[in-house]
Symmetry: C2
């Protein structure tokens, strides 16, 4: 069973005036915000799905990661299933009107039953939307049924090619939906297919870069900040990147030190401006990749002068052994949200197409306010939002749960605008690649 | 406050096998049903909004009226507001991507505060979807603010023309949304406007005909019945029409008698086939018009041989004095739904675009199972559905509330397919009218 939050986590800080101010501007500007999003997604269509990790420090509300191969659909509040299905149906109406047969390709880690619950839930939502769905495995050579803790059964099937069409036994899909972030690169079986693939192969972590996403996010955040008249820093974290880093050989260390210090200096200036007394920090992570490997919290550039062997090894590799050579340095945003049990919590917001579905809190009892919480394990617990983040309530105070959730939905969609612009870049690259 | 049903009304009949069978087929065929609807609305787009009166006799589930100028949005379950707003947003994305300014034109009966609550709610939902909305009155010469029982204030404004553009003071709308069924005919101020009008003027009750709607419904019901393999009669009421009727002068009486008997005979045959022991009846009403005036229940054609003066007067006029000359004779469908207090209940389902929003029960303590319940007054009480009618639940029995609501949503959308085809007819008539 999905655990649903009865109460939104507490903001354990006194410094909430700036956040209250953001929320006030978001509520007052709701109509203009919705119009702005509509025009954005008209220009650059949203991806099929996305999920965004947010951090809320009370004085700043900002995204830290945008996932285009969202897992965790099983963690959403089942009470709003109608909303999820209608979001899928609207996406199909708009972009795939004739679609009937869809092949879903999940990650390969079939031993993770939590992940398989996500796949089963996603398949169910797609089927309820009126699609004929099969789940194809990149690994299996025989059909395999997995019994899940929820009581659901998930059937994974082998896939094969007929010429340039991907197939399962007796099933010729019209669309391939990836729930696999391609950290291991693009498998040959997916290359040069006749069928469209969503998200596109370029969204995989071999080619996608966080720095490109956050450059688009910065531009979008500045545009929206103008619409609602706020300081864009309140929703946009500073960042820098370094290329050609080799942690094991300490190559590129000077770039790291200089850029960590640069981000800290910029952050310090904003903290001083707002009278924030917390200590600025940065998060250093692979510019490509995900899953909380190779992520480090730092309070000064000097920390990178003398990393010990263990730290260097940890930073040098990301998921599926993808070596880290491009490094993304992002202003750290404290999470001052905590559950009644004082565990640190971080909201994750889900979207299908341009519609927010709600989300859940990633609750971590073993980590601090300045650490990455996307680290599954014994201390990790998802708590579904009690509201779908779509509507503010003008009659409630700006920090009422419904309004805080709306703020999360707005910032999440802002990252979606950035992702939509990334997708437009990829289409253009592909078009110019095909032309050259 | 909108009263929300905790329990679905009871089906007070033993004869529910056929309904259970319909519901089983709907649940089993959900994916195919959703695909079928998607392809239908791709061919003929759904109107902006619609609401449908359904009747559920346990052995038959059928629509009896489809309203293209839906009132009663204030009676929907406020818990699903996010769903309503997302439905409006999706409609805008698909059909009016650049829309910012909308003028809503309500009915003229400003003394009906229940109706004004509907207008206020509709305006609120449109605003939350990101539109700049004004409410224009066809009657008022000065801006007038109405204080509503809910505590909301509704501002109505005078409207005027600048050439062929409809305006309110300082407001140049891009779309006119009608919540006025034009029973009194099309006012000159709305004719030949530059701006699009939704629903189109042809949807007004001066020109729209129930017989045309139900002819399209019949075709659509037969198509869907094939998809899910059921007898189409289970969801489709027989009907006939008579033209050139003058109730006061008893002109056209023979047509009435013959067609009432014909519908009863057809119904009798189906009742016999299913072993239904209830007495067949018909509902006789104006082919144009609405609002429960000029509506009669009859058990034989002979009843029309000797209508008394009062009955004739009642039948001769519909809303706003629209004279009845075309008469629609429809197979009566018993409503065997009743509340815990044994009041007769009839479901009304709401849609925006092709999305079902849910609905409410029209509960009437002063009327019988074979009577029209759309008669506002002291005995009338709306009870919001507890579910949005979008998703069935395969793990629940076919007659579980969630599944009965899903069945209502399917039949409601089937009338929407019919309405979409009516709209296509109107566009074609307009195009050929413009060409000639």
């Amino acid at each position: 069973m999905t655990e649903v939050l009865q109460n939104i986590p507490l903001l354990a800080t006194e410094r909430t005036e700036a956040l209250l101010d953001i929320e006030r501007h978001l509520i007052a500007g709701q109509s203009a915000i919705e119009r702005w999003f509509r025009s954005q997604f008209q220009m650059t269509p949203a991806p099929f799905y996305a999920s965004v990790d947010l951090r809320n420090s009370g004085f700043k509300l900002a995204p830290v990661d945008t996932n285009l191969f969202s897992a965790g659909f099983n963690n959403l509040n089942p009470e709003f299933s109608s909303l999820y299905v209608s979001a899928i149906q609207h996406y199909l109406n708009q972009y795939y009107p004739g679609l009937e047969r869809l092949l879903l390709i999940p990650e390969n880690h079939t031993r993770n039953l939590f992940y398989l619950e996500n796949v089963a839930r996603l398949r169910e939502l797609l089927e309820m939307s009126g699609l004929d769905v099969r789940v194809g495995s990149l690994l299996l050579e025989e059909r395999t049924a997995y019994d899940l803790p929820s009581g659901n059964v998930l059937l994974l099937e082998p896939i094969f090619r007929e010429g340039n069409r991907l197939q399962a036994a007796g099933f010729d899909p019209q669309l391939i939906l990836l729930n696999n972030d391609l950290s291991g690169g693009v498998p040959e079986i997916l290359e040069n297919l006749e069928q469209p693939i969503s998200p596109p192969l370029a969204a995989g972590w071999r080619s996608r870069r966080k720095s490109q996403h956050f450059a688009h996010y910065r531009a979008a955040a500045h545009e929206l900040a103008e619409v609602i008249d706020i300081d864009p820093w309140l929703i946009d974290p500073f960042f820098r990147r370094c290329q050609g880093i080799d942690f094991m050989r300490a190559e590129g260390r000077d770039c790291l030190v200089a850029n960590v210090d640069a981000v800290l200096e910029l952050t310090r200036e904003r903290y001083a401006h707002y009278g924030i007394t917390q200590r600025p920090f940065v998060i250093v992570k692979a510019d490509a990749g995900t899953y909380g490997m190779g992520i480090m919290t730092a309070y000064s550039g000097a920390e990178f002068m003398d990393l010990n062997r263990k730290e260097r090894t940890r930073m040098a590799k990301s998921k599926e052994g993808l070596p880290v050579s491009d490094v993304f340095i992002q202003e750290g945003v404290y999470t001052f949200e905590q559950t009644a049990e004082e565990a640190v919590a971080e909201p994750v917001v889900y979207m299908v197409g341009q519609q927010v579905l709600g989300g859940f809190y990633r609750v971590h009892t073993g980590r601090g306010r300045d650490e990455n919480l996307n680290a599954p394990g014994a201390h990790f617990e998802p708590m579904a939002f009690g509201e779908p983040c779509i509507l503010p309530c003008r009659k409630s105070p700006p920090d009422a749960p419904v309004n805080r959730y709306y703020a999360y939905g707005v910032i999440a969609r802002l990252t979606l605008v950035a992702a939509a612009r990334e997708m437009a870049d990829w289409r253009q690259q592909q078009a110019s690649g095909a032309a050259s």
